[in-house]
Amino acid sequence: MTTVRKPARREVSLATRESLYGYGFILLWVIGFCVFTALPLAQTFLYSLNTVSVTATSINLDFVEWANYSRALFTDPNFIELLIGFSVETLVSVPIVLIFAMIVAMFLNLKFRFKGLFRVIFFLPIVITSGPVIRELTEQGAASAPGIANNPAVIAFLEELPRALRSPVEYLLTSFVLILWFSGVQIMIYLAGLQKIDRSVYDAAAIDGASGWETFWKIVLPSLSTVTVVNAIYTIIILSHFSENKVIRYIYDQTYNVQGGIGYASAMSFIYFGVMVVILAVICFALLRWARRSSR
């Protein structure tokens, strides 16, 4: 009996070893995440349930339950409007970014001269949207095209539209360029996805007499379905983090406002967070269902 147990005690089982190595590799990240993200998040949630006043020496909390939340949701005239506006913008931007990135990636996956140069150019927005450049540009109004929205023909067109559609379409027209600038990384991810498709699959489809159009719907799109989910999540994250985002701006202003305060700003952050998670969940759920169906 002892002879049997002995090796078992010395050697940890394979599965345990595997998971130990797993934890080992992820340890650094988990520590960093807990200290600099999870802990502050918990603290922020606590703040959101209090009225917070900061003095030179200490931070005083005054417990008010959900008052900050109800204020943000029912009293504040701006917050809800900004939040709805931003949600609509996100829901409009995500498909545009995805479609644009997919089309450009398919172009860049073809063979033609200066392909390398074009790939670099379309990847370039990565240094624009995450740096200080975009701030400068939006301040100057260069990112939007106000000229388009003031064009009489466009105004007439917008007035033809039903009310619910008007603001998304207007946003689309004025910020089209800005939306495109968000697609640098997504184009790259799509390109990597396209290159994973084996050439022989195309050949087989061609032999079976599939047209280019059919090849796209039956081969390319299903192969890109998982990548599309990744891109959708990435786009939502980047949009929700964008420093010129109006909701974030508003929350920032309120943090250091006498009437707002930290507690109130924290509550708004959590509401915003909740809304973003819901949007993410909805888009992912829809895309995942589609991905599962098309990969079958």
Partner: protein
């Protein structure tokens, strides 16, 4: 891919639609018709930031703003440099801080994100799914809202006013783990199993197999982290009290902020010049690293 076939039957596939001729061909014109206007849009911000820096005041304030400079001038830079010489701490000090901080941050954050991504993607342990979900969701939290709690954490760790405070909080770049995990997912398990059968240790597997195969993603993360670190003026404002510990980004914002400028008109010009100076390293890093992204993407193991 293509190169595996000999050249004489390279383009004689059953249904070669004339899509892949070797050099330029008239049928390719349609690609350029679509791609060139779009790439002009993509280049616009870069052109704008460069030309702004050389604009004299009247052009900077022109309405509607014009993209290109008509009378280029170096006045903005001259104003900027004349400001530099009047400050207490030499600019080389800020520059040194920024370079050190950026280099260490990029290296360390690649290490942290890629090890985490490897574990999340290829290792089997219980909390895996939960950790990844938490990471993805937490990415979306408003960074502004955690500023004050984060300050308290940093204060409690005695990190205020230290060199490390520049690096540690930005290490976990939000999208890093997310993006890298997707790329590690793309590596087939067979490759890893083959390496394990050959007796590769976990660390060796990570370093020799995983890392080279996800190079495009690593390069992307490097570009993103570089920008986050290089342009970060916030940390210097919030957590640093000693002037000589602050970064170039912080210094340039103080130079251009409204409070220190005697007249707003000159301030705009200086801001434009400073923005160009801050932007150039981003562009250089991009140009250096894009080759990694592009070349490995076209013929790596990502197949």
């Amino acid at each position: 891919m293509i190169a595996r076939r000999p050249w004489w039957n390279r383009y004689t596939g059953l249904r070669n639609r004339g899509m892949n001729p070797q050099g330029f061909h008239v049928s390719q014109l349609k690609f350029y018709v679509v791609l060139i206007p779009l790439s002009v849009l993509m280049l616009l911000p870069v052109v704008y930031i460069i030309s702004s820096a050389f604009k004299p005041p009247d052009e900077l304030f022109a309405f509607p703003p014009r993209l290109l400079v008509t009378n280029p001038t170096l006045d903005n830079f001259r104003d900027l440099f004349s400001r530099l010489s009047t400050s207490g701490v030499p600019i080389t000090r800020y520059l040194f801080n920024s370079i050190m901080i950026t280099a260490i941050t990029v290296a360390a954050s690649i290490l942290v994100s890629s090890t985490a991504a490897y574990a999340l993607s290829k290792k089997r342990f219980r909390l895996k799914q939960a950790l990844f979900a938490i990471n993805t969701v937490a990415l979306m939290f408003v960074p502004v809202a955690v500023t004050i709690p984060r300050f308290l954490v940093i204060e409690n760790l005695n990190l205020l006013d230290s060199f490390l405070v520049h690096i540690l909080p930005v290490l976990a770049l939000p999208v890093g783990v997310f993006l890298l995990k997707q790329f590690v997912d793309g590596i087939p398990d067979e490759v890893i199993e083959a390496a394990q059968i050959d007796g590769a240790s976990d660390w060796r597997l990570y370093w020799r197999i995983i890392m080279p195969m996800i190079k495009p993603a690593i390069a992307t993360i490097a570009i993103l982290t570089f920008q986050a670190a290089w342009n970060n003026a916030e940390i210097s404002t919030l957590y640093i009290n000693t002037e000589s510990q602050r970064t170039l980004a912080f210094y340039l914002t103080t130079l251009t902020s409204a409070t220190t400028t005697a007249n707003a008109v000159a301030g705009q010009g200086i801001a434009a010049a400073a923005a160009l100076i801050m932007f150039l390293p981003n562009l250089i890093i991009f140009i250096v690293l894009q080759r990694q992204v592009m070349s490995t993407m076209s013929r790596s193991g990502l197949k």
